[in-house]
Amino acid sequence: MKILVGIKRVIDYNVRIRVKSDGSGVETDGVKMSINPFDEIALEEALRIREAGNADEVIVVSLGGNECQQQLRTGLAMGADRAIQVDSAESLQPLTIARAFLKLVEKEQAGLVMLGKQAIDGDNSQTAQMLAALWGRPQATFASAVELSGNKAMVTREVDAGLERIEVDLPAVISVDLRLNEPRFVKLPDIMKAKRKPLEVIPVEDLGVAPENDLQFTSHTPPPVREKGIMVEDAAQLVAELKTRGLL
């Protein structure tokens, strides 16, 4: 079985986000970029599935400009077998990304697609569900445990009410949550080895996919700021202050 893993290049989660003064987006110049944290977890899980003998090949996939090859190389260094960059100059929206993934699924005959539960830039949380819908296959979103047996996956999902379990037949799409695993660290020799692993570049047009019904993002603004408030000295003052404000 082949597993496709989505790897999105995003601003590192430690970076303080600044909105550009002209409102056209957020500052990315000279900003540290990383693999979307959820995607690292998706890849880790795929590697563990392969290491357990339940998959033959793990393929990392990123849609974006050439710069996303950096994140694909990191994925290869973590242990993915090969990489595909779907080349697109403009940034694509989830429906188009899901359509492109479906083309790759068909081309590679993948049995499992593992994506992040959300990309931490747009916080969309859409791509996995859309791919599953277009493919007509199961979706198991927000996974915090995945157990494969034969042609089925038992997935524990982190939902608002607690932990839900569903069983899905493969092929399927799984989107992963933070508690699924701890991604491994990349070691230097692996980085060297990753340079020799295959990285295929496919222009998005060659997949026969083009943006449709895109949303327009017309303006970006900084969020309203919360003013720093007062400091109190002890618990008694805190309770008194809350009572004065009618909160207790």
């Binding site: 429906l95 939902v159 009410a161 379990r165 949303l215 017309t218």
Partner: protein, 312 residues
């Protein structure tokens, strides 16, 4: 025809307050709205939905297989009833986040995630980058708008309505590729985190599962819901459904009290809409004090027992 369809969230017995919040967003869009309740034996829930003020018709789609919350089954039903609606809204809860993109893809549209404000029938605002930026989103007018409504941004519409209820059979057969197994609920009897007017949270500093009893006992004294940072959940001090933040619950209580939480952006994004934020942290330089309305630089293991005494 221009109408909004709201997808109700419920657990089979009770309508989730997120539905009445979606109705508030629909009211802001300013078009007539209906509510779809999908499930099994849902007459009660449909009745509750019918009280949401302003509702046109409640469509109760009742079938055994819809009793399980499987997005694959629910999405195909919504698609079957979508024609004639210009907008389909669901909540930004895990229920809505699971379901709505599946509907959007089947309809061939992109989804607007997390509507926090309405500027026009096809023009919305939403937070991105864990709430560090707000973006204006304009959706194409020629196709259906499928969107999730950021529940923390909207007040529930009142329950003074009495809409008509129309029952329907399911349009599609159950999918065979997915099976619901069970739900292990972490929560006890405390007020629901997403709707509680007061929330008390603990962070990594709580140190253990046993110490979280301090949080629970203080919460019980003032009728509060309880929350946690990701670090506290990861460490196994409390269940996952208590996590507040970018990847947990986004909440807007009148009062939020954080004990031993440093104030990472991923946590703070979950409480930005709270009325009053109180932080207790023994590090006077903790970032949470930058956004707290009332701060107390002290050891929580002293402060909580003192507060309990003062309030008990």
């Amino acid at each position: 025809m221009s109408n909004i369809l709201i997808i109700a969230e419920h657990d089979g017995q009770n309508l989730n307050p997120s539905t009445a919040k979606c109705a508030q967003c629909a009211t802001a869009i300013g078009l007539p709205f209906d509510i779809a309740v999908l499930g099994s034996s849902i007459a009660d829930v449909a009745g509750q939905a019918a009280t949401i003020a302003g509702t046109g018709t409640v469509y109760a789609v009742d079938a055994a297989h819809l009793g399980d919350p499987l997005a694959a089954n629910h999405a195909q039903e919504v698609v079957a009833m979508a024609s004639g609606y210009s907008h389909i809204l669901g909540p930004s809860t895990t229920f809505g986040r699971d379901l709505m993109p599946r509907i959007a893809a089947l309809l061939g549209v992109n989804q607007v995630t997390d509507i926090s404000a309405v500027e026009g029938s096809h023009h919305f605002k939403r937070p991105i980058y864990a709430g560090n930026a707000v973006v204006d989103v304009v959706a194409p007018e020629a196709v259906t708008v499928v969107a999730t409504v950021r529940v923390a941004s909207w007040k529930a519409v009142d329950g003074s309505g009495s809409a008509a209820i129309e029952s329907r059979p399911a349009a599609e057969a159950a999918v065979t590729h997915s099976r619901y197994i069970d739900l292990q609920s972490g929560g006890g009897e405390r007020p629901d985190l997403q709707t509680a007017s007061r929330v008390i949270s603990g962070g990594r500093a709580m140190g253990s599962k046993e110490n979280f009893d301090l949080i629970y006992s203080l919460a019980d004294l003032i009728g509060a819901g309880t929350g946690a940072s990701r670090a506290a959940v990861d460490a196994g001090f409390c269940p996952n459904d208590m996590q507040v933040g970018q990847t947990g619950k986004i909440i807007a209580p009148d009062l939020y009290i954080a004990f031993g939480i440093s104030g990472a952006i991923q946590h703070v994004t979950g409480i930005k809409d709270a009325g009053t934020i109180v932080a207790v942290n023994k590090d006077a330089d903790a970032p949470i004090f930058e956004i707290a309305d009332i701060g107390l630089a002290a050891d929580l293991f002293n402060v909580i027992p003192e507060m309990k005494q003062l309030l008990g």
